[in-house]
């Protein structure tokens, strides 16, 4: 097994998998960032938005979380492919459009899916900020934007870190599904390699190891971030 793996890595599939790893990181980081934006927006609406919008956010989170990720990815892929190819023809940039289309679908899909979980994470984080601090800030005459950037935002991110770690780990693993619409990330690189070398077991094991390493490493990053942003904070649970 080990010599098969070494041979496969030497045949150039190691490089391919490494490039796939870069793509996995790119799509999961961009998707997660979009999800955080959706999460913060949704959480603000859910804590003090108008009733109709609160309903809409609830419908979005409920539906997105109970429908398979793959179905959402297919909706985005098939639903926009016509529009995107029309746009490509209009701009005379078909080649570029075709190249970046799976990445756009991936970022959008991961953003929408992870966003539905982030809403709850950030809602909890907003609720965790003691009311008294906001009142104190009002009492000493801080304007609303200063209250937001000095009191609410820094603490919200810290409270949201543990939950965001979970969301991130799920988002990272969900990116493997984007391979099914043609994005050459880790999984797609492994599928191509498996077809070319006829060694599916070795390639998929390698893909699993890569995902595992990224997951473990990012776990470490979150622990460090919690420690760094938690300076001067009292530990919660």
């Amino acid at each position: 097994m080990l010599d098969t793996i070494i041979r496969i890595l030497q045949e150039g599939w190691g490089w391919m998998l490494l490039r796939g790893t870069g793509m996995t990181l790119l799509v999961s980081i961009l998707g997660m960032a979009l999800g955080v934006v959706i999460g913060i927006t949704g959480a603000s609406i859910k804590t003090n938005g108008p009733l109709v919008l609160r309903w809409l956010v609830s419908i979005y989170t409920t539906i997105t979380r109970s429908i398979p990720e793959l179905l959402i990815i297919y909706l985005l892929f098939f639903g926009t492919s016509q529009a995107v190819s029309d746009l490509g023809a209009l701009l005379n940039w078909q080649e570029g459009m075709n190249r970046w289309f799976p990445l756009m679908v991936g970022v959008l899909a991961i953003g929408i899916i992870s966003g539905s979980y982030s809403v709850e994470v950030f809602r909890g984080a907003l609720k965790a900020i003691p009311e008294g601090q906001i009142e104190a800030a009002k009492a000493i005459g801080m304007p609303a934007y200063k209250r937001l950037f000095r009191i609410t935002v820094p603490q919200m991110f810290w409270y949201a870190l543990p939950g965001s770690n979970n969301v991130w780990q799920t988002a990272l693993k969900d990116t493997a599904l984007i391979s099914l619409v043609g994005l050459v990330e880790i999984m797609r690189a492994a599928v191509l390699g498996a077809a070319a070398t006829r060694e599916p077991l070795a390639l998929y094991l390698l893909a699993g190891i890569l995902f595992f390493i990224i997951g473990m490493a990012s776990q470490g990053v979150f622990v460090l971030a919690e420690r760094y942003f938690g300076r001067g904070m009292r530990a919660v649970s």
Binding site: S66, E69, L70, L71, G79, L201, A207
Partner: protein, 227 residues
Amino acid sequence: MIDAELFHYTFSNLLKGLNLTLYVGLISILLSLGVGLVLALMRMSKNRLVSGFAFSYSTVFRGTPLLVQLFILYYGIGTIGFIRHTPALWWLFSDGAKCAILAIALNSGAYISEVFRGGFQSVPVGQIEAAKAIGMSPLKRFYRIVFPLAVRQALPAYSNEIVIAIKGTSLASTIAVMELTGHAKRLMNYNYAIVETFIIAGLLYLLINFSLLVIVHLVERWLKIVR
């Protein structure tokens, strides 16, 4: 708006996949319960080797995508000569639906073991001490005291795992098992009723998940201790 004929065509096509989704989903949910329970008990074991195995298992299976696990089982394991030449194993690994069931059960079992472990750890020590004091055997202590209390504690968190397992069945479509998502993809691919297909398939998934959650809720109520 959706016209009646298109709706009927899409709906009847998707229904063809519903059976397989339910088959793969329900069997893997049942199997994952067993896997999860055994792993949780192993995690609680005093034997370092046993608890270490359960810990590594749960870390590896929770740390890699289900799709990778599914491909290893279906495309990878099948290339091993020994598996091909053992009829019982080949029966299991040559069939997509069975591989999907196995992958979801093994994956979901890892997550469920964490839920159960939390349940077991929540059992108050005093209860176990009291059972010991009146001379209950370890086995009786387990099925009369520890297990019933742990299950009650674990059920609410467990319901999430059911939804995740049902969502996981959609990956079976990637190894040529034409379940709900597989049919939805086929329809989206050639009749362009993309949004309609998504809505109907989505509603079917919502219905499955909702029914299963209702069942868990009923079990929860049934187990509730009336004081």
